[in-house]
């Protein structure tokens, strides 16, 4: 267990601002428990553009692309182009194109678990684990907050 904790701290920098002695064992247990309920694993690539829209795919293409990149790969000939274009479908932006991999995975999980009737039970288990480990870590967090080097407490009255 101690070895695992050392390994986690070496590999998991989310608490690297704390001396390792201040990281409680409950933290390691929480990380392990959270990993046990993870259904969509893997890193999501950092976004490189703004959100996708259906119209980007289905609204048309204002660019004059090289012939080999066009939907109808004909550079000359009325009949040739017409015959090829007759077979075209209408562009369709699929869910796979529009959603990030983790959103797609979450959707798949929800659809499949709903179909086999196990979704609600699974989610109850998830909530229970979140509560258990959230409550176990809370006292450590409160103690940590008390040592905060923030200039002033930020407690606001609920409106």
């Amino acid at each position: 267990m101690a070895l695992a904790l050392v390994a986690l701290l070496a590999l998991a920098p989310a608490l690297d601002f704390l001396p390792s002695a201040k990281v409680p064992r409950a933290y390691l247990e929480a990380v392990a428990a959270l990993q046990s309920i993870e259904v969509c694993e893997g890193k999501v690539p950092r976004p490189t553009s703004s959100a996708r829209h259906v119209f980007d795919t289905e609204g048309g293409d204002k660019l004059v692309k090289p012939v080999h990149l066009r939907r109808v790969k004909v550079a000359a000939g009325y009949g040739l182009h017409f015959d090829a274009a007759k077979q075209l479908g209408f562009p369709f932006a699929s869910g796979e194109q529009l959603l990030a991999p983790d959103m797609l995975c979450a959707t798949e999980h929800a659809v499949l678990k709903a179909a086999d009737g196990s979704l609600e039970a699974h989610r109850s288990k998830v909530i229970k684990i979140l509560r258990t480990h959230g409550e176990q870590l809370r006292p450590y967090s409160l103690s940590l907050n008390a040592s905060s080097c923030r200039p002033m407490s930020s407690r606001y009255r609920a409106g």
């Binding site: 989310a14 601002f17 933290y27 959270l34 309920i37 993870e38 259904v39 969509c40 950092r46 553009s49 959100a51 996708r52 829209h53 259906v54 609204g59 048309g60 204002k62 660019l63 109808v72 000359a76 009325y78 009949g79 182009h81 274009a85 075209l88 479908g89 209408f90 369709f92 932006a93 699929s94 869910g95 796979e96 529009l98 959103m103 979450a106 959707t107 929800a110 659809v111 499949l112 179909a115 009737g117 989610r123 909530i127 979140l130 480990h133 959230g134 409550e135 870590l137 809370r138 450590y140 967090s141 907050n145 905060s148 080097c149 923030r150 930020s154 407690r155 606001y156 009255r157 609920a158």
Partner: protein, 655 residues
């Protein structure tokens, strides 16, 4: 704040923002070079020279802190002691006082401090205040602290920018869910859409630099200026948005790792989940925030706010339809009829029309007001069918960018207002398919032939219409093909579509009507412009849908066109030239009324079969079984009359 739970999520799911727990403990940076959190989209990295310049600039700004505080005090005092102010300014000053009082009551900001207290707290020259202003948003005033004017935004270097989801997200999920169900051979899942909001948003994000979340207001009671600092982030600092968004980025990602389809738009969470989940997805999103936050369970009182928390009072429970990001999204038919509908919320329409009405009443629209109105209008039209109404923003663009200091509510603005007043309350719902349809798309080619006449015709006089013919040779060609009507096509199924009795291939050609070309813009000297090819290309587009409306209604169309200016105008729904914009506007109104979806695509002229009828060559089309029909054009009065006529004509539910 349960900082350890937040860190545990980051470590358990290897989330990119490794520093977020430390920032909640220590406070988030407000100004200066803000380190990359890895949570958002990376901007172009600054060069060494950029960084050196920024550091030098930052130093210069900080040197002037005390002088700036003097200036802020002078401005705020002068503004509040002025003997006469406009009604707008009076309302704004009152709103600043009232909203500041409210924030004080809620404990979001510090009590009022004197300059001496501020200096004592942070040290001479080590703070920089902002001027507080207020803007009317929706139905309430919101305070904005001017980070730009105080140069605090210039003193901030960001390496990343946020990416927000589209209002279309439920459609994206519905499309994915349908494909998953098909792949696994299970029934289509009923979907629900719910939203949650975070309490006090920016204010709950602790800052390590309160001395730069500082603002100055006027105290009417004490008749002097007061300094307040915000415990979290103010509205108005450049860093507020990117820094705040780091938190929902983490919690939304956690929800997805746990199998709940969740996204967020700043502090608004969008959850699109299967109905069978019975809102358990929304419960998980709440629980994540509860556990990383103050641990207060749903329904329990929250005496004070110590961390970001879901505000249950603003919850939109999971339902088949809901308003998200100002758009009503209807998922109720996604699993039965395979459609998702979008419509702008009535409030948005009302707000835009009120902005127009106010401008008309006061006979005044500034460049800034035009910009705001254009932005709101553009967002609203995003959720209408096709590209309807976009081109009619031309007068707003004119006011925003080209009218200089002109503020009069011009005739062009009046026309645009009338157009919006007729169209916006009756905007066609946007209905999107969840799966590709069984019906194949129509194939349309359009073309315009246009060239200056080599020799002037002798039979012309000074009449405008004859003058056009004397100067130019022009003709339009249109071709429409329906695969379901073609016995030689594997998709042949005439019962599936309308109009097969008229043939699978129809085409037409015509000289553009004189009364329509008479509406085209002239050059400054009153003479014709050199070319009108783009106008004629789009006119051919208008003609094809006007000539064969019943064949096009409700269909998808692959529309080929060989002119890039016209193509760009049709794809964007917008053009800078007034006459072209008017035709494009009419075009999209027609398409929207017909409920058609059109994909515009380039075709080389040498491949454009519509080129043939525009040059009176019919052989090839006849060989393909083509039938020649007359080409029809909307009556001349429509081109100069109210544009919403174009929508009324073909709309099932006309305004």
């Amino acid at each position: 704040m349960n900082v350890l739970m937040l860190a545990a999520f980051v470590d358990a799911y290897d989330l990119p923002d490794k520093d977020i727990a430390r920032c909640f403990w220590h406070g988030f940076q407000a100004i200066g070079a803000v380190p990359d959190s890895h949570a958002h989209r990376l901007l172009a990295p600054p060069t060494t020279l950029d960084i050196a310049r920024f550091e030098s600039n930052l130093q210069q700004i900080m040197i002037g802190n005390e002088a700036w505080a003097d200036e802020v005090e002078r401005i705020v005092t002068k503004r509040n002691k002025a003997s006469s102010v406009s009604a707008d300014t009076h309302d704004r000053l009152n709103a600043i006082v009232e909203t500041t009082e409210k924030e004080l009551t809620k404990g979001l900001i510090s009590k009022g401090l004197s300059r001496g207290q501020v200096t004592h707290k942070w040290g001479f020259g080590r703070y920089r205040p902002m001027i507080r202003s207020a803007v009317f948003q929706g139905e309430k005033w919101r305070c904005i602290d001017d980070g730009r004017r105080s140069l605090l935004n210039n003193a901030t270097l960001l390496l990343e920018t946020i990416v927000t989801p589209s209002y279309e997200l439920p459609l994206h999920v519905a499309r994915a869910a349908a494909a998953i169900a098909n792949r696994h051979g299970i029934p289509q899942a009923e979907l629900h859409y719910g939203l949650d909001d975070l309490l006090a948003a920016f204010r709950t994000l602790p800052t390590s630099q309160q001395q730069f979340n500082l603002f100055v207001t006027w105290s009417p009671r004490l008749q002097r200026i007061e300094y307040h600092y915000c415990y979290g982030f103010v509205f108005g600092l450049k860093s507020s948005v990117t820094q705040f968004n780091r938190f929902p980025e983490v919690t939304a990602a956690v929800a997805r790792h746990l199998g709940v389809p969740t996204a967020h738009y700043v502090d608004d969470f969008q959850i699109v989940d299967v109905a069978a989940a019975k809102a358990s997805g929304q419960d998980i999103v709440y629980e994540i925030h509860c556990q990383v936050g103050d641990g207060i369970a749903a329904g329990q009182p929250r005496p004070f706010i110590s961390s970001p928390a879901v505000e249950l009072a603003k919850r939109k429970p999971m339902a088949p339809s809901n308003i998200g990001l100002g758009v009503m999204v209807d998922l109720s038919k996604a699993h039965t009829e395979g459609t998702v509908a979008f419509m702008p919320s009535a409030n948005r329409v009302k707000h835009i029309l009120e902005m127009w009405a106010k401008a008309k009443r006061s006979n005044r629209m500034t460049s800034g007001e035009a910009s705001t109105l254009r932005g709101k209008r553009q967002f609203l039209l995003e959720c209408a069918q096709g590209r309807v109404g976009r081109a009619s923003s031309l007068s707003l663009v004119q006011r925003e960018y080209h009218d200089g200091d002109e503020t009069e509510f011009s005739e062009a603005l009046q026309h645009a207002y009338e157009f919006d007043a007729a169209l916006l309350p009756n905007l066609p719902f946007r209905v999107e398919l969840v799966e590709p349809p069984n019906v194949r798309p129509l194939l349309v080619y359009t073309d315009a032939m246009f060239r200056p006449r080599k020799r002037k015709r002798r039979d012309c006089d000074d009449d405008v219409l004859e003058a056009w013919k004397a100067r130019f040779v022009s003709k339009l060609g249109i071709v429409l093909y329906d695969p379901h009507c073609d016995p030689d096509n594997t998709a042949y199924e005439p019962a599936l579509v309308a109009g097969c009795e008229d043939g699978h291939l129809v085409y037409a050609s015509a000289t553009p009507p004189d009364d329509i070309v008479a509406t085209f813009l002239r050059a400054r000297d009153g003479d014709f412009q050199k070319t009108y090819i783009a106008q004629l290309e789009v006119l051919a587009g208008v003609a094809v849908y006007f000539t064969y409306p019943d064949r096009v209604r409700g269909r998808q169309v692959n529309h080929f066109i060989d002119n890039t200016v016209a193509l760009s105008g049709l794809v964007h729904g917008y053009a800078r030239k007034l006459d072209l914009a008017r035709i494009i506007n009419a075009f999209h109104l027609q398409i929207a009324a017909l409920g058609a979806n059109v994909y515009y695509e380039f075709v080389p002229s040498k491949c454009n079969v519509a080129d043939l009828p525009s040059r009176d060559e019919y052989e090839l089309l006849d060989e393909h079984g083509g039938k020649r029909t007359p080409m029809l054009f909307p009556p001349a009065s429509d081109w100069t009359g109210p544009l919403d006529l174009w929508f009324k004509r073909f709309s099932a539910n006309p305004p």
